[in-house]
Amino acid sequence: MRRRRITCPALPALGMTLALGMVTLLWTATAFAQVEGSLSVYGAANGRGYLQPLKEALGSGLAAGLYNTARVESGHFRVRLEANAMLMSFGSSDRTFNAHTESYFPSDQTAQAPTVVGSTQSTSVTDPGTGAVFTFPGGLDLSRLALAAPQVVIGGVKGTELMVRYLTVQLGKNSDIGDLSLFGIGARHSLSQYMHSPKIDVAALVFYQSLNLGTDFIDSSLLSFGVQAGRRFRVLEPYVGVALNSQSFEMRYDAQQGGSSTRQDIKYDTDTSLGATVGAALHLKVVHLNGQFEFAHQTTFAFGLSLGM
């Protein structure tokens, strides 16, 4: 009896999209872990400036790729498995910050020093009175940052769907930094179901995410409220969206402040900002492919591949 081989090209592609995002995410996390040593020369003020682009990129990345359609189906149960990869681009203003020499240096001087994504070259200033030289460390010279997020969407009840993101990556036993974990949970609800003969699909979204790197190196969370609108033309669906994103970000490291090593706990003020999304999706029965631009602190390109109804 001849056995029929069942193949689905989308499954390995789904894995590949996710693996690609995870590999870049892993290397990014590892690279950031390696510059933690350089942070030891920075107190809270300089540490905040050095890490600012990382904070903003994580906020922009987490806000992207949450959905690939404005439609929320109703009337039948559906499950969708999604793999999302987000690429956040850094601008020239992200590469330097206005750094000050630390208090133990004989004079207060400023310099445009590299941020964590800035030039790999250090910058130095000299105290005119004593000739002492203070050196600000270099960055990683990054143009972009990547995030990956596997997501499960379960829906079909009264135009509502539940979305869950989860990812945990062990950075290795020898890593100083620990593990990376991402958890997100949210829901979308169809607004167009309340309209008479709607020409477009409209949905509302609420989503909470937390991203942790190490036991207490980076803790970031994002709460998003948004509205999406789109229209399907056979298999193609262009869509737009706006969202209000509220991000909290906290980072801890050991700094050599004066004579003793002190734990720096850098807690940024909660940052609430508007983000806009423009994207398009191809819906091929059970396979869905989408790409979108997210305009927030950083411009983010997200693409995703999903399987399901």
Partner: protein
């Protein structure tokens, strides 16, 4: 047909990530800076004279090696230098005195201080008027540190270069007496920076 279109779209997406150069990770030479300290502690318990003078040998080898190995990254060390100084009163009982004086290293002026109050926990640094870093001492120690780094880089670290002879002297106002002796301990730390170039694997996207 649909399968072919799907594959083309997938390759397009992947090429955006890979930038066409086929490598997700790139090794870069990153200029990193590590911090450390060279501490010295001064103890004038039971001292009854207005002027205190004491000479100590400070062996900074362990402190400097700790700074060099503050992270686990392999790299090429470029420089090691003193960038500042701090002090802290660790213990002070009895009368509160103003203390003004100097610390020299191998006869070279390193620190000049004038601290109006010396209660326990008082701190200061070279960025405020109570403490001044001296160029002769700074240049002397930086010269020794660089000589040590040169020996370290060729695999024969000469820690004897990091044995410094410190002399501290200060005047207390009001002066201590037999009935109210100095019970005073303080520490002066030199803050050092180590600059090294490390090879770091970063995402190339």
């Amino acid at each position: 047909m649909r399968r072919k279109s799907f594959s083309i779209l997938l390759v397009l997406c992947a090429s955006i990530v890979l930038k066409g150069d086929g490598c997700l990770v790139k090794q870069k030479d990153v200029s990193m800076v590590l911090a450390g300290k060279i501490p010295a502690q001064w103890d004038s318990q039971g001292y009854t004279q207005a002027t205190f003078v004491k000479t100590d040998v400070v062996s900074a080898g362990t402190d400097v090696l700790n700074a060099l190995n503050a992270d686990n990254l392999a790299g090429v060390y470029k420089s090691i230098k003193v960038v500042g100084a701090v002090y802290e009163v660790l213990k002070s009982t009895g009368h509160d005195a103003r203390r003004a004086g100097t610390v020299t290293v191998n006869g070279n002026l390193l620190l000049t201080f004038d601290v109006p109050h010396n209660t326990q926990g008082i701190k200061g640094n070279a960025g405020d008027p109570t403490l001044t870093l001296g160029t002769p001492g700074l240049n002397f120690i930086n010269g020794r540190l660089q000589q040590f780094l040169d020996s370290y880089n060729v695999g024969a670290p000469n820690t004897a270069l990091l044995d410094f002879t410190y002399t501290a002297n200060w005047t207390s106002t009001p002066a201590p007496s037999a009935s109210d002796p100095d019970a005073f301990t303080w520490t002066t730390d030199l803050v050092i920076q180590v600059e090294k170039t490390a090879k770091v694997d970063v995402p190339n996207i």
